[in-house]
Symmetry: C2
Subunit: 327 residues, 2 copies
C-alpha cells in the first residue's frame, strides 16, 4: 500500500487536521473532530447538513462554506458517521428555519441520520441521494447508491438555502435535483482501504469495471479496457437511459475523477461524453470537470448528467465559497 | 497502460477539445490548437504568456483567464511548444504594454521561447522559472527545473499584470517570486507517457523517489517508503535549505498532487508539512492544497514554499477566474 499517510488508524484525524489548518478562513472543525462547519454560522437560513464515510474527499467536508453545506460529518474511511456526530453538527449550525439532511443511499448512513432525526425535536427534513445508474445490487446499499451526483445536489440546494428558500422548498428542490440526476462510473484500478492494506478488488491490466461504486463495489460488468470514446458511450448511454431524457434537453455534464486519474484524462473523457450527449440530442449548457467525489486513489471516472430547468440552472450558477469549490 | 484516452498520438488534440468545450466562457482555443487564450482579450495590459509540454494539466492551459495567464502554448506530451505556437499566442493577446514570457527551466522550452523572442519586434521580457530544490542534474534541464512553483509565479504575476503593473515591474516581480520560491517532490509511482506505453521508471512496492521531477526525472535519492510525516520533514527541509529562510518568516505553503494521489493524502501531507515548517520557525500565512501541476498519473506530491512579502501576498490574494483556479 503506497499512500502519503501515517498510521492507518489515524488517517481520518490526520487529514482533517491538515484540511482544517489549510482552510481556516472558510471552515472550522469541531474540537472532537465530529463535524466541519462553515466559519460564519448563519442561523437565519435552512441549515444544509451532509456527511458520510471518509475517503471521498473533497466530498463532503470540502464543500462546507458559503452557498453549499453548513456542516458535514466525516465518518471513518468508508464508514458512516455516528448519530452523535450528526446531533453535534445540527446543534452547531441549525436555527429556526430548520435543517435539511442530504444523505447518500447507504444503509448505515440512512440509519444513523434517521436515528439522529428521531432524537431531535426541531424542524428537519431528509433527502436520499441515489443517483448511481450503475445498478448492481450491493450489500452496502438499498437500491441505487449515492455517488458523484451528490456534488450537484449539494451545490444546487446549498445555493437555494443561501437564498433563504424555506425548508419545504429546499427539500422539494433536493428531491427534484436527485430525480433529474444520474451517474455512471468506470474503474481502471481498485482502491486500497488503509486499515485493510490491500486492494478491495483486482482488475487485470486489460480490464475495466463499468458501473463501479465509490467504495469499489462491484459494477454492472467487467469489460476489456476501452478507449475514452467507447467508455464515454457506455457511461452516457446508461445515464440517459436511467433519466428518461426528452430530446433537446438542456443538461449539466459533470465528469468526475475517482482520485487516481489526472485532469488530462478527465478533459479527454469530458470531450467524448459531451459528443455522445450531443449525438443523442442533448444540449450541454453547464459543465464541470474535476476530482470532486473520490474513492481513495482509485483510477477511473464517472459521468453525471443533470436535466436542468430554470431553478436548477440558476442555483447551479450562484456563488459558492468552500475549500474545494469556488464560484 | 490504463488511461482514459483514445489513440495515444491524438491525446493532445482530444484533451484540448474537451477542455475548450468545458470552459468556453473563460478561454478560447486557437483553431489550429496552437494556444489557449483568455476569452476577453485585454491589450491594454502586459500579456502574461506561458507554455510547455502537456501532461502537467491543469498547468498551463487551466490557468488562462482573468488574473493569471493571457495565453498558454501546449506542446505535445512532455515536449516543448514550437516557436510558431509562441508567436501565434503573442500575436493573439499582446498589445502596446508588451508581453512577459514565464518559462520553466527546460532546455527545449528556453530555446523555443528564445527563438520566438528573436523573431519578435515588440516589448518582451522572459523570466526563467527554476524552483525545484530536487537538484539532481537531468538531461532535460540546465540547473534547477521548473516545477509546481510555476503555479505560484503565474498567480502572482498574473494578478500584477491585471492590476496594470508595467512590463519591467512584472518582470522584476516574477524574478523576485521565483527567487523566493522552492519546491521538492516525492514520487510513489512512475507515470506512463502514452506514446511510450510503459512506465518511465519503476519503483518497488516499498520504495519512493525523493526530489523527482515532473517528467519522472530521477530525484535525489531512492528511499524506503516513508510516512506522510517523514516525507514532509524531508521535503520541507530541502525546500527551506534552498531558500535561506529567516526565522519567523511568513510563508505560503502549497502542497501539490502529481496526478495519482487523492485529496485525502494531500490534506494529510499538508498538515505534516505545515507542522514541519512551524517547528522551523515559519508562519504559514497562505495555503494551497490540490492537484495543479501534474506528471500525468504519477502518484506523489510536492511541497512548495514561497517567502511572502507585502506585494507577493497581495497579488496572491487577488481575484482570479480561470478554468482550474477561481478566487
Amino acid at each position: 500500500m503506497k499512500k502519503l499517510i501515517n498510521t492507518p488508524s489515524e488517517t481520518l484525524k490526520d487529514f482533517l487536521n491538515g484540511f482544517a489548518a489549510a482552510y481556516a478562513s472558510v471552515i472550522a472543525i469541531d474540537r472532537q473532530g465530529r463535524f466541519v462547519r462553515r466559519a460564519e454560522i448563519r442561523r437565519d437560513k435552512v441549515a444544509i447538513i451532509s456527511g458520510g464515510g471518509s475517503g471521498h474527499e473533497p466530498l463532503h467536508v470540502g464543500f462546507v462554506g458559503i452557498g453549499m453545506l453548513d456542516a458535514a460529518c466525516p465518518g471513518q474511511i468508508f464508514t458512516s458517521p455516528t448519530p452523535d456526530q450528526i446531533l453535534a453538527a445540527h446543534a452547531a449550525v441549525a436555527g429556526e428555519p430548520g435543517a435539511l439532511f442530504l444523505v447518500k443511499n447507504y444503509e448505515g448512513d440512512q440509519m444513523n441520520f434517521d436515528m439522529a432525526i428521531e432524537m431531535l425535536d426541531a424542524p428537519i427534513a431528509k433527502v436520499v441521494i441515489d443517483d448511481d445508474a450503475g445498478g448492481a445490487v450491493s450489500a452496502r446499499s438499498i437500491g441505487r447508491r449515492g455517488v458523484a451526483g451528490t456534488f450537484v445536489v449539494e451545490k444546487i440546494v446549498g445555493a437555494a438555502a443561501e437564498a433563504r428558500l424555506d425548508l419545504d422548498g429546499c427539500r422539494r428542490l433536493a428531491e427534484r435535483t436527485v430525480a433529474r440526476t444520474r451517474s455512471m462510473g468506470v474503474a481502471l484500478s481498485s482502491c486500497t482501504v488503509p486499515l485493510a492494506g490491500r486492494p478491495t478488488f483486482t482488475l487485470a491490466e486489460d480490464e475495466m469495471e463499468i458501473g463501479v461504486g465509490i467504495h469499489g463495489e462491484p459494477g454492472r460488468e467487467r469489460l476489456p479496457l476501452g478507449t475514452s470514446r467507447s467508455v464515454a458511450e457506455l457511461l452516457v448511454d446508461a445515464t440517459l437511459r436511467a433519466l428518461d431524457t426528452p430530446d433537446g434537453a438542456d443538461v449539466l455534464l459533470f465528469v468526475n475523477g475517482f482520485g487516481g486519474s489526472p485532469p488530462m484524462e478527465l478533459y479527454c473523457l469530458y470531450g467524448d461524453a459531451r459528443a455522445a450527449l450531443e449525438r443523442r440530442g442533448c444540449r450541454v449548457v453547464r459543465s464541470l470537470v474535476g476530482t470532486y467525489v473520490t474513492s481513495l486513489e482509485m483510477a477511473g471516472a464517472s459521468v453525471t448528467v443533470t436535466l436542468l430547468d430554470e431553478d436548477l440552472a440558476r442555483f447551479w450558477d450562484a456563488p459558492a465559497l468552500t475549500p474545494a469549490f469556488v464560484r
